[in-house]
Symmetry: C2
């Protein structure tokens, strides 16, 4: 019988928090960044490198896995941890977000969402109960409620409708989860778009139902960073202080630190790997587009002082060559560089918060972000 889920705050610094989540597959230090293993694999990167980068937890996408290889097959093969040989914590989303962004002919009704699979055209129904069943079959450490996410900007009435539907789905997720889950955690998802009254109503109603953690959904879906951070700043304080807070699908290094400053504990984003595949490296010296011709004869590594071998051992000229030559190794190496960068950013935040110096840490690194200004990839994996 695995240890049940537990969250413990170890320090706060203003609104910023640091702590530990205990899960059946190990400890997750927060603030935590979760690399996205969409189809039970981080694109182009070996699990061992993901782990070596410092990831305590990985995210996997329910939508993709329920379609292929199917939750039932993963369960028959021992669950997601055994299937993919990642013995550490895993969070699964509910599948709702990808239904909205990937599937054709989707129909959202009270009962759930019906959609046509983008793989074989089959009509599939995803209800709150099925989303929980699938995630229990996958055996993730943290499951997410099914919700409806609305792209911004949107009419208030549409945001409100989706928010209220998500609340009713939250209740419907909790019941079957409580009956069947062993040691797993279930997170509710706050919706309400950029309307603070709706966000507050959603947060308070979810807290009344009671979840192991609370996510902010429906952000990084088209709004500005300013709007996103305003929603985060105003919504986080309405959530139970003793539970983890997860900002879904976010974001750039700047987004992460700013959200931590406003009380967020967890993040996931495809940005480090997607940008890595496209030739953009995050380093302490700023973002580097390695495909740029100015790197073609540069013998320097991306960062000679980095903890990451790929950032230290290969010249910019060689990495540039790999991208120009279409060698997949280039995307792999830059993805690894970025995963290390994100994990080091989180480790730095944890240390700073514990020392009561998060404001200094934020100020110290802010200059780098200003130079980067790259917000591509602030969306979810599709």
């Amino acid at each position: 019988m695995p240890e049940p889920f537990a969250f413990r705050l170890t320090a706060t610094d203003g609104a910023a928090r640091t702590g530990e989540m205990a899960t059946p597959h190990g400890i997750v230090r927060t603030p935590a960044f979760m690399p996205v293993g969409t189809q039970a694999a981080i694109k182009g990167v070996h699990h061992d490198d993901v782990r070596a980068a410092g990831a305590d937890i990985m995210l996997a996408n329910t939508y993709h896995l329920m379609l292929r290889p199917s939750a039932e097959r993963v369960a028959a093969l021992g669950g997601l941890h055994t299937f993919m040989r990642w013995p550490h914590p895993i969070l699964t989303d509910s599948g709702g977000f990808q239904v909205m962004s990937l599937a054709a002919l989707r129909k959202v009704e009270e009962e759930g969402v019906t959609f046509r699979s983008h793989l074989d055209g089959a009509m599939i129904e995803l209800t709150p109960e099925r989303a929980i069943e699938v995630q229990i079959l996958l055996g993730s450490d943290i499951a997410m409620q099914l919700d409806e996410c609305v792209r911004l900007p949107a009419e208030r009435s549409e945001i409100e409708r989706a928010m209220n539907l998500s609340l009713r789905w939250a209740e419907r997720c909790k019941r079957p989860f409580e009956k069947a889950a062993i040691g797993q955690a279930l997170f509710g998802i706050v919706q309400g778009g950029d309307d603070q009254n709706l966000r507050e109503a959603s947060a308070r109603a979810l807290a009344a139902i009671g979840f192991d953690g609370y996510a902010l959904g429906g952000l990084a879906v088209g709004e500005t960073q300013e709007v996103m951070l305003k929603v985060v700043a105003e919504t986080a304080p309405m959530l139970p202080a003793d539970k983890p807070r997860y900002l879904m699908g976010v974001g750039t290094p700047a987004d992460l630190l700013e959200a931590i400053a406003r009380g967020i504990d967890m993040f996931d984003c495809v940005l480090p790997t997607r940008n890595g595949r496209h030739g953009l490296a995050f380093t302490r010296n700023g973002a580097i587009n390695i495909k740029n011709a100015r790197h073609a004869e540069d013998p320097r590594p991306l960062d000679a002082e980095s903890r990451c071998p790929a950032a230290r051992d290969f010249s910019r000229a060689y990495l540039h060559h790999l991208f120009r030559a279409g060698e997949a190794l280039g995307g792999t190496l830059l993805s690894i560089v970025n995963l290390y960068y994100y994990q080091d950013l989180m480790a730095g935040a944890r240390t700073a918060i514990a020392a009561g110096r998060f404001a200094d840490y934020l100020a110290l690194t802010r200059e780098q972000w200003a130079a980067k200004g790259d917000r591509r990839g602030r969306d979810h994996e599709c």
Copy 2:
């Protein structure tokens, strides 16, 4: 001043030989298999994994590198070893084979070959002297003469013309090489197609010129395995016994052991990585097409007893999923599995020859090959 190239036979067993080549960047144990780093990278595989698999030496393609990033740029960046961060031995081909197979509008004349770059359409001339200049700029440990390779079947007159041209080019390669190379080795290439008289003439003429090693070119270019092995068996004895013998662009595991039995010391082939990317794994239990539906629910690893972590740690079901889902990690893992398999095959051959038991080793592994029957990839990297 690096140690000059040297070859030392340590044991023979029938026609099979085992020994060591000393190069400026380290020892190469023979029989040796050279993974192909076409563009200064093994496709989809990190150098560290190539090395861990057991590779003493890597091959890089002069044709590709002279076009991108250019030999001059590689030289400015410290040579190929420094550029790609592979501090171990490297063999470069002369570029001739890819000119024949990749470039449009090629024109072979006495002076050399003129071709249109497949990258930018520029007209480029590759003479024997330039092929040597480029390889000295790249700084490989072993350079190859420029030759003309004829696809089989072909008219005897055409094979003879190309063989004689290759001989004249061999002489023209040796002169500038002797002036400029420091510690590097230069190999001549025996041509002559499937005509044994021509092969003998080529071998004897090359030996009279005198090279550090001798390659058999113009094989694995359309002929049957039977024809190839006949040429190998009849040509190898005509080459100086105290120099390494290299069968270019070969081959399957069966090809390799059969050629070792006939006196070959070195091989290169894209087959382990190309087949790996396409879902075909070589294991001690035979070849496995991981995309086959029968693996979809198989929890067994490819080979629980393998020295290769990828063969041991991941289930066939997971590897199958990665290929079905189009995750690049699948191709990477199977490429690694195959590189280990090839290196283990060579290590086994070396041990068997040293023990005077190569016939037993060959008999023991032959059964596996019969089941495989896969000869895709017995061609060179294009």
